[in-house]
């Protein structure tokens, strides 16, 4: 039988959590045991006498349950002398389009103005002085809200992976997040491609791309997207190459792209090709962009790894799902992908993990893989 979850389930899943440290075990237990019978009870809400009231309740709750944008704070507008002071004492100039980390302060000089959006909240600052992020966007998230956030994430993942159609919807809904890395590509363009966008830390990472039959030599190039300066160009006998990015002296915050494919006599040397103009006939390889950040993505996980919820009440595959959520939210897509892989190594048939992995792939334009997983999980026995 195919598993389907409708919106009502994704709303109801989080209820009852957050008030205690029972944590993921109870959450997953209820999702496994409770969620499916619950679906049965709500399979045809419109036929029930109070259907309209349920619909009204959904509408009234609608504002609260809409998925919140959890990307880092973004500067929508800045003028004058605005600086961002980091916790380590360093500061940098703030400008439109710049993403800020969630810890630090905004420093404004006279006649300056800045507008920020974080968690869908819009803030305009125009008074001179220093304001911390906690003050701008409210206090730091509490443990209770983290559990709520996680259960929302799991519920949303199940919702987005309930069918092939919902995978498509998840992809469409995430289009505005798709900055550079996947825009303009059909699903095929990203199959077997890694890393496929987001932010990448100074770690060892394996770049891989689709194998082409009969080809024994491939060319790989890593290029600074701004200057078009080639950082690395190598030939390899297989469609993958492992690099330690720390050794390549990449610039923090810079956008890079990589391209690879069967080696040809005259390597691609033509001018820049925008992803958005891919329809133009070209012999160049497809390009995949990523932002290099000089900090370890593990920083994102520091707090949770010492949290009782994670340490005491979560199984290894559940811990990996938590990590995947935090990494994806922070923009570390490759690291999130790895977290899912590690979780699936431990529990390859875990429905919740598989379904959330499928939703992740769907969101980031790996829809064919995502649909295969959805199909596979529909055949898995329920625990």
């Amino acid at each position: 039988m195919k598993m389907k979850m409708n919106k009502s389930q994704s709303i109801l899943v989080p209820s009852g959590f957050g008030s205690s440290a029972q944590g993921t075990e109870e959450l997953f237990g209820r999702l496994r045991a409770g969620a499916w019978p619950f679906r049965k009870r709500t399979a045809a809400p419109l036929r029930r006498p109070n259907a309209l009231l349920i619909l009204l309740a959904f509408f009234l709750l609608g504002q609260g349950i809409q998925a919140q944008d959890t990307r880092p704070p973004l500067v929508m507008f800045a003028e004058g002398e605005v600086r961002f002071a980091k916790p380590d004492g360093k500061s940098e100039r703030v400008f439109t389009g710049m993403y800020l980390s969630e810890q630090g302060s905004i420093v404004l000089k006279k006649n300056s103005r800045v507008e920020l959006i974080y968690n869908d909240k819009f803030v305009e600052l125009k008074e001179p002085g220093t304001v911390t992020f906690d003050k701008i966007f409210g206090t730091a998230p509490q443990r209770k809200s983290f559990i709520q956030r996680f259960s929302n994430f799991v519920g949303r993942g199940l919702d987005q992976s309930s069918s092939a159609r919902s995978i498509e919807k998840a992809y469409m809904a995430n289009q505005s997040n798709a900055q550079g890395n996947i825009r303009g590509f059909g699903d095929r363009g990203l199959l077997d491609v890694f890393p496929f966008g987001g932010m990448v830390s100074p770690t060892e990472i394996t770049f891989s791309w689709p194998e082409e039959s009969g080809k024994s030599s491939y060319q790989f190039r890593l290029v600074d997207s701004l200057s078009e300066q080639v950082v690395l160009e190598v030939k390899t006998s297989r469609p993958a190459i492992t690099l330690n990015l720390e050794e390549l002296l990449l610039q923090d915050g810079n956008l890079y792209y990589w391209e690879a494919g069967p080696a040809v006599q005259s390597p691609a040397t033509s001018g820049p090709k925008r992803l958005s103009r891919r329809s133009q006939p070209t012999t160049d390889y497809d390009r995949y962009t990523f932002t290099y950040v000089a900090r370890d993505h593990a920083e994102v996980l520091t707090d949770i790894r010492s949290d009782e919820f994670y340490v005491k009440y979560s199984r290894p595959e559940q811990q990996m799902l938590i990590e995947a959520m935090l990494l994806e939210d922070a923009g570390f897509l490759a690291a999130a992908y790895d977290a899912y892989q590690r979780g699936l190594e431990v529990a390859p048939k875990d429905i919740i993990l598989n379904r959330n992995y499928a939703a992740f792939l769907g969101r980031w334009n790996l829809r064919t893989q995502a649909k295969e997983i959805v199909e596979m999980t529909s055949k898995l026995p329920r625990e």
Binding site: F95, I117, D120, K121, F122, S176, N177, R277
Partner: protein, 402 residues
């Protein structure tokens, strides 16, 4: 009780209600004495309340694929400098929401022409000529001076609204009487950014599309034109690279900000009656671009389905109200008014729910009006009309009940 007679009376009452509504519409459309009704109510839809009132104004959705560059009546030379600077940072496409009519200073014109010729992906604003009744069409699209528009794409910036009306719709493509087919400004921009999105829009084959507004200027990345000339390369690269960049009047909160190219939208906090236009044309275009890229289209019921629904809804209510009139004459007034209020509330939320959650828009205003009129028309019918029509008057409810 003979239900057949109730159906006959019910049909007669329903017919009277719709005749009355038709008459009211006929009068209000043609009489200037009803201007407040025309300008106040015609520009108001239930779904506007969702945009203007039910929307959490603290929550702002961000659109990161578009960057707006705010310029206030720049000279040709200034515009050239801004465009050249933007183009240096590889935007996916640049849209200039300024109509460049005629020649001005020769130096500035020359500079602008040179810059426009050197940028491959520019869309220039154009205007559709006024509709000509006798020709039953729009003769042509008025483009910028040929010195500027010669080598770039021109696209019309008109919306489906007059200067004093609310902009809820736009026409994606339009053919003029000179045989040319033109893209709307937003469509032309998306065409150069992600053609698949435009194909998806055009597959819907709708001559006009409702705009699903993402938000006002706050939802978009913005920079002042003068700052573009002074900003560092790093800043401009972050802001412009691979983005759709639109140049024009983005926003001003000055009390004397120009009213030109400023429109009412459903996001206007004052959703009915007179108020100040709330959005500049370029921000509306940015909303259109965002909608096309996301495929966030608004679906509407076909007119015949809507008409059937409204007739069925009215007839059903007339049946209930008419029965209450005969069965509970003492409490008719109170019960009917409470029923109308509850129904209006439920339907309002239902229409709002469908729009908010599924982007399905149902224009049920005629149904609402019919519901409100049903009470009075039942009373008028029973006390005035029925008695004067022998066929209807022969049906005696008391006799039927015996």
């Amino acid at each position: 009780m003979n239900n057949r007679f109730f159906h006959i009376h019910g049909l007669a009452i329903t017919l009277i209600i719709f005749l009355f509504i038709g008459l009211v519409k006929l009068v209000t459309f043609q009489s200037h004495y009803f201007d407040p009704f025309n300008n106040g109510m015609k520009d108001y839809e239930v779904t506007d309340i969702i945009y203007s009132q039910l929307r959490d104004k603290e929550r702002v959705k961000r659109e990161t694929r578009i960057a707006l560059v705010h310029v206030e009546k720049p000279t040709r030379e200034e515009l050239a400098a801004v465009l050249e600077r933007i183009a240096a940072f590889s935007p996916a496409v640049i849209g200039v929401d300024i109509l460049l009519r005629g020649e001005k200073d020769s130096l500035g014109d020359h500079e602008l022409r040179r810059v426009l010729d050197s940028i491959p992906n520019v869309v220039l604003a154009a205007n559709l000529a006024p509709y000509v009744d006798s020709l039953k069409g729009i003769p042509e699209m008025i483009v910028s001076d040929s010195a500027f528009s010669g080598r770039v794409t021109s696209a019309y910036t008109n919306f489906l609204a007059g200067e004093d009306k609310t902009v809820r719709m736009f026409t994606p493509r339009l053919s003029t009487l000179d045989g040319q087919t033109h893209d709307a400004f937003g469509v032309a921009l998306v065409r150069q950014y992600d053609d698949a999105s435009v194909r998806r829009l055009l597959r819907r084959n709708n001559p006009a599309e409702r705009i699903d507004y993402l938000g006002e200027y706050r939802s978009f990345l913005r920079k002042n034109g003068s700052d573009v000339l002074e900003a560092s390369e790093e800043e401009l690269s972050v802001l412009f690279r691979d983005r759709i960049v639109m140049v024009g009047f983005a926003d001003s909160r000055d009390p004397d900000a120009p009213i030109e190219d400023r429109y009412f939208t459903p996001l206007n906090p004052v959703y009915t009656g007179r108020s100040i236009p709330d959005m500049y044309g370029m921000v509306i275009h940015a909303n259109i671009v965002s909608m096309i890229l996301d495929g966030r289209f608004i679906y509407e019921l076909p007119a015949w389905v809507r008409t059937l629904l409204i007739i069925a809804f009215t007839y059903f209510n007339v049946q209930i109200i008419h029965r209450i009139y005969h069965w509970l004459p003492d409490t008719f007034h109170g019960i009917t008014r409470i029923m109308q209020l509850i129904e209006l509330l439920i339907f309002f939320f239902f229409v709002a729910f469908l729009f908010n959650e599924f982007r399905i828009k149902i224009d049920f205003s005629t149904g609402f009006l019919a519901l409100i009129l049903a009470y009075d028309v039942v009373m008028i019918y029973e006390s005035l009309i029925r008695k004067r029509i022998p066929f209807l008057n022969n049906v005696n409810y008391e006799d039927e009940n015996e």
